[in-house]
């Protein structure tokens, strides 16, 4: 799967202008310290839009908590709706960052050096936003903390058999873990910023965060130990996280959910949409910070290959589902597959297949893979397709399960859509702020990259 990205055709992952230690520091640090070399206007415009959407999200949430979860399109049969799909989608995106940093690190994919930092940042925010949705979807969100085991006046405990409990802990652990992973990876770069800072405030700010990093061989020694082990732990954590998300559905007895393929299939799906989102951000960061020397078309080429592999696996997963439904023989399972293709949501299903399985096949052509525009466009389609897949998983099964008398159709309301799109804005809001404060590319890892490139 996506880990089998072939070794790059060329050995160098940087352009000449970026091939000196100083140049790297310049490229990455200047925007933060000297406000040079980046697109101010673009940032402000983007930030304005993002803030607006964030405000809308705040309004949605206030209205939701004031009025009740009934503002969504859910009904007696389809008790789960868009927020759950949004949650799965965001958490999927939230996977790719840690995945790139850890898995590619272990696979010795050196090209990750220039993209892993902002991929990790993406993880933090995506996972955090994802965590909001299940809470917003609760009937009584004010009591979400009852999932915690603490001695309480009701003297009852969480019900550990519930996939939602697994989910709750998997996400919390994952978010906290990712913060650690991201921050530790950041420390040496914070030291760089500390040392490049000309004025007092940035110096003390970055200085404090750098924790007094001196770049001593001993620091590096223990740091490497820790970072590598974290990477080793991150891989199973990422995999388990999305497996658990898959089990939110698989650990039921509903047709179309109760499938042993779900955990791996969800993991791949997560990487798929995650990488698509990374491609999008890579393009933006590259353009916004003029990082062409460090992020080359070759990076897009490789990620396109990974997405291609993932899309094939997704296709296989769908095939497996259909086969399983037929082979399983349960009446409701077969009804469901028929419903997917011909029922009330059929157009959505067809679109999903087109975006997730057909379109990405264009990546077989190297010209497409090397055209950044093409890769970005397809990546966007994949993200749409993956959202469609998530909503299909949620509402197909619920709309069309065992008893025909309760078959109903879900019609999203204004609030369903508002929350989805405003959450995108909130993500942009957080991300743009981060881009103003922390380096978007790992300087020390890039230095090491060009060092190793020049000494092989």
């Amino acid at each position: 799967m996506s880990l089998q990205a072939e070794p790059p055709e060329i050995e160098r992952w940087t352009e000449p202008p970026g091939r000196s230690y100083l140049a790297i520091s310049e490229l990455v640090a200047a925007p933060l310290l000297e406000r040079r070399q980046w697109r101010w206007r673009a940032w402000w415009i983007a930030f304005g839009i993002a803030s607006g959407l964030t405000l809308i999200m705040a309004i949605c949430m206030s209205w939701l908590f004031a009025t009740g979860v009934g503002i969504f399109g859910n009904n007696t049969t389809i008790v789960w709706g868009l927020p759950i799909a949004d949650y799965v989608w965001w958490i999927g995106i939230g996977n790719a960052g840690t995945l790139i940093s850890s898995m590619l690190l272990l696979m010795r994919q050196r090209w990750r050096a220039s993209i892993n930092r902002f991929a990790e940042a993406m993880t933090l925010f995506a996972a955090t936003i994802a965590g909001l949705f299940p809470i917003m979807h609760l009937g009584r969100p004010e009591y979400f903390y009852w999932l915690l085991p603490y001695p309480n006046t009701m003297v009852v405990w969480p019900q550990w058999r519930s996939a939602l409990i697994w989910d709750f802990w998997a996400i919390s652990s994952y978010i906290l873990f990712s913060i650690l992973f991201w921050y530790v990876g950041l420390i040496p770069d914070l030291a760089t910023l500390r040392d490049r800072a000309k004025t007092a405030f940035p110096r003390s700010f970055y200085g404090a965060l750098a924790l007094g990093w001196r770049g001593s061989a001993r620091h590096w020694y223990f740091y490497e130990h820790y970072h590598l082990t974290m990477a080793c732990l991150a891989v199973p954590l990422v995999v388990s996280l999305h497996s658990v998300v898959g089990m939110d559905f698989a650990a039921s007895l509903m047709p179309g959910w109760q499938e042993s393929i779900f955990p791996p299939y969800f993991v791949v799906g997560a990487m798929y949409s995650g990488f698509a989102m990374v491609v999008l951000l890579t393009a933006l960061v590259r353009w916004g910070f003029n990082l062409q020397p460090l992020i080359t078309a070759e990076h897009f080429n490789v990620m396109a290959k990974i997405m291609l592999a993932a899309s094939i696996i997704m296709g296989l997963s769908y095939l497996t589902e259909w086969f399983a439904a037929w082979y399983h023989g349960e009446r409701a399972e077969r009804w469901l597959v028929g419903f997917e293709f011909t029922g009330g949501y059929a157009p959505v299903y067809w679109c999903m297949l087109l975006f997730n399985c057909i379109v990405p096949q264009l990546f077989w052509f190297v010209r497409i893979r090397c055209s950044i525009v093409a890769v970005v466009v397809i990546a966007i389609l994949i993200n749409v397709g993956m959202w469609l897949e998530r909503i299909e998983i949620v509402w197909n099964t619920l709309s069309h399960d065992f008893l025909p008398s309760m078959w109903r159709i879900f019609i999203p309301t204004f609030w369903d859509w508002a929350l989805l799109f405003s959450s995108l804005g909130f993500f942009g809001f957080l991300y743009l702020l981060l881009a103003r404060i922390f380096p978007m590319v790992s300087m020390h890892e890039t230095r090491r990259l060009i060092y190793e490139e020049s000494h092989q």
Partner: protein, 945 residues
Amino acid sequence: MSQVKQHPPASPSALNRRAALKLLGSGLALTLSSCGRPHEEIVPYVEMPEGLVPGVPMKFATTLALAGYGRGALAISVDGRPIKIEGNPRHPASLGATDVFAEAEIMSLYDPDRAKAPRTKDDVVTWDAFAQALFAQMQQEKARHGAGLRIVTGRITSPTLLRQINALLTQYPEARWYSYEPISDDAAFDGSMLAYGRRLAALPRLADAAVVLSLDADPLGAGPRQIADARAFSQRRTRQAQPFLRLYTVEPEWTLTGANSDHRLALHPDLIRNFALAVTAQMQGENAPDLPDPVAHFAKICADDLKANKSKALVLVGRRQPPELHALGHWLNAQLNAPVDFIAPADGNPLGDAQALQTLSRDLDDGRVETLAIVGANPVYDTPADLGLAHKIGKVAFSVHLGLHENETADQCSWRLPMSHTLESWSDLRAFDGTASIVQPLILPLYDSRQAHDLLGLMAGTIAPSAYDLVRQTWQAQRSGGDFDTWWKQTLHDGVVANSAAARVATGAPKRPDVKPAQAARGLSLLLGADPSVWDGRFANNAWLQECPHPFTKEVWGHGIYLSPGDARRLNIADRETIEVWHDSASLRAPARVREGQADGVIAVELGYGRTRAGAIGNGIGVNAYPLRTTASPWLISDVSLRGTGEIRNVPLLQHNFDLEGDGKDLYPVLTLAELAQGKQPPDHDYENRPTLYAKVNYDSYAWAMVIDTSLCIGCNACVVACQAENNVPVIGPEEVAMGRDMHWLRVDRYVPDPERPPGFQPVPCMHCEQAPCEPVCPVAASVHDGEGLNAQVYNRCIGTRFCQSNCPYKVRRFNWFGYADGQEYADLGADSVRASHNPDVTVRGRGVMEKCTYCIQRINRARHHAEIVDQPIPDGAVVTACQAACPTRAITFGNRNSKASAITALRREPHHYALLGHLGTRPRTTYLARLRNPNPAMQEKAQA
């Protein structure tokens, strides 16, 4: 905002000092703290310690009226608040069961829109003011011997009220009393006139029948006789029944009777007489009128079957059929020596409904009416349009309306008087078979209301005795000797006047009417009918009934115009497309509902909707079909025009999919007696022997279980409303339902397992699975299992993840998307009066929590308390769930499956016992008996041929 919704005074400006004083007097500021038991002694149904024990429910026997006929009831009252209606086993029209209307009377009692004080057109007045005005008016009437006095009522069977009316008529010889029912039985009575020369009511004994042919008759459908007929029918439809009744139905549109028949034929109303003639001819060996081949074949087989079962065969003719067909029915029954009795009708109405209304209308035209008293009726709304009463009544100088609501008629009257609800009144009523019973109040009138007895007393002018005394007088007069008070106490306690049923009338041989074959109708005909939820419109403001699904379409909050698929194709009308139907000047606009099994050439619509002065709940729901009605032909309007508007509307439905394609049939197994005899079993019969990985939990105390016999369920919905009343299930309103939401804990699914056959009904409460899928998925243990196998939902622990419902294969859980009972109620259902209807033993659920059927755990616990007091195990039958108590056919059985002797254990051993979706390994506690059918083999052969 309609005037009905306003609590007087109409507007603050109207509240001058005078009005304010009257407000005080009229007790509008009434709060429920003033709920109390009536002054007079009322007698509880079960013996109770002296005085009232707080919080302990007491049952009082009383009587509820439907279309004037009484249905015995036991009203459950807690701390002086009636909260639930149950049937009275000793009453022939109840037999311990209820119907939707009886169950919903609680909601009617607490309806916030009830008339609360006497009013004139624009002012709140006191009863004294009205009494004075009336006195003056009656003086004038006295002068002209009541020539200007007209009294209009619905059907009246109350001996006391009849006594008062007759007294008044003797006092005012020129005065006239007109009574009518919109759902009229004129045709039946006229039929008996034709056949026997007398006005007789026929009482067919279904329990003694082996073969029944129903010609557009609907004994199982809503009506004053529904419970009695359904019970009799069900006695002949159990596996053990000998013989097992076979039911043939010929009808233009679906009725519950048609749905429960073994063979059904959809036929245009005009052709039904030809069918009847064909049956007659076949039986008499005469030559039949020519009919299409399948119809003729059906007639032949019916005739043979009837003939072969002489003295056990019965022909029923519906109220929508013409008198001569009723007469023919009587004649056929006579030939078959059918099990049917005749009695003199219980109501004192000599002229039929139509004639009464026509005379009234003529009197109004001639300006002969000076004083008009309308008691409990709503002629402005529910009389045929050709009489134009709506305009005429308004012209009467002195008109009085006494009613529960200030309805369309009150709006036209000079005096609008609030009437007490039955549960606030003393009276008496007769059942369809003449059995009399006392109406005793459970609560003081909530508002400043009076009842019919009081109004008539005022009209009589004397210092009127109270209704209580009037009723006692009536019965004291009929008692010769004996201690009356003992008798009275006993009668109140039993809820039935002992052996007061009307004497069976010995009839001579009926005349054979000369029925001419009808021409097959050319144009499109419109068929009207009573509504299963709002009857003739009088229940339109009852939220429970508005949200009670139509048995066939499962539509709530309104109705559609039903077309056959053939007509829909011919006229190019899509389902749910808004169509316009007009005849002469009157027209209807409503969504078309295309349904299989509707006769071609006839469209159907129910009466009782389109109210304008019903109240916050009923106003503007559905369309009013009365304007299309004519006195000449009250049920069938021929040559109506129809056109589609192309606009498709989303109608609020509680069930969207009815077909069971392919192996979906397993969900609703149907067995013929023959198949059962061959030992065929429904799938999921031995679901309990399926392999499982889980250790068996043993329930050593009680193991509660429910068995529902789908061959007995007639789909009447009584259980649905009973559950709603018992468990404080909120009403959510049409908009929410249109979104696909609903709150009923118990739903009655209708399935069409075989397009060739009638559909069947499957009540679905919570299955209380032993291996419940909903429980392990709840992260906070809000859905847990108790030691007796109940699947309990802990409301105050629930945080609303809804995983339980998404993982419930039966989808029986219900979620409070909003605070339906908790601050976000629909319309005016948040009013204090509605809160008073809540059952104090059941939590009112808040926003954001999941709820569902509890097997009426509060009733289990009450039984447990009683058992613990006497230190005995809970006996079988001591726990009766609300749905079980309501069921007219006893299709629902509840009990302890651990006790070998219990009824439930016996039912679970039946060969056609099965568990819904048993193959999923959920081990449900609620299980079913497959639907049994008794088709005529002769009919099968034809089908194969």
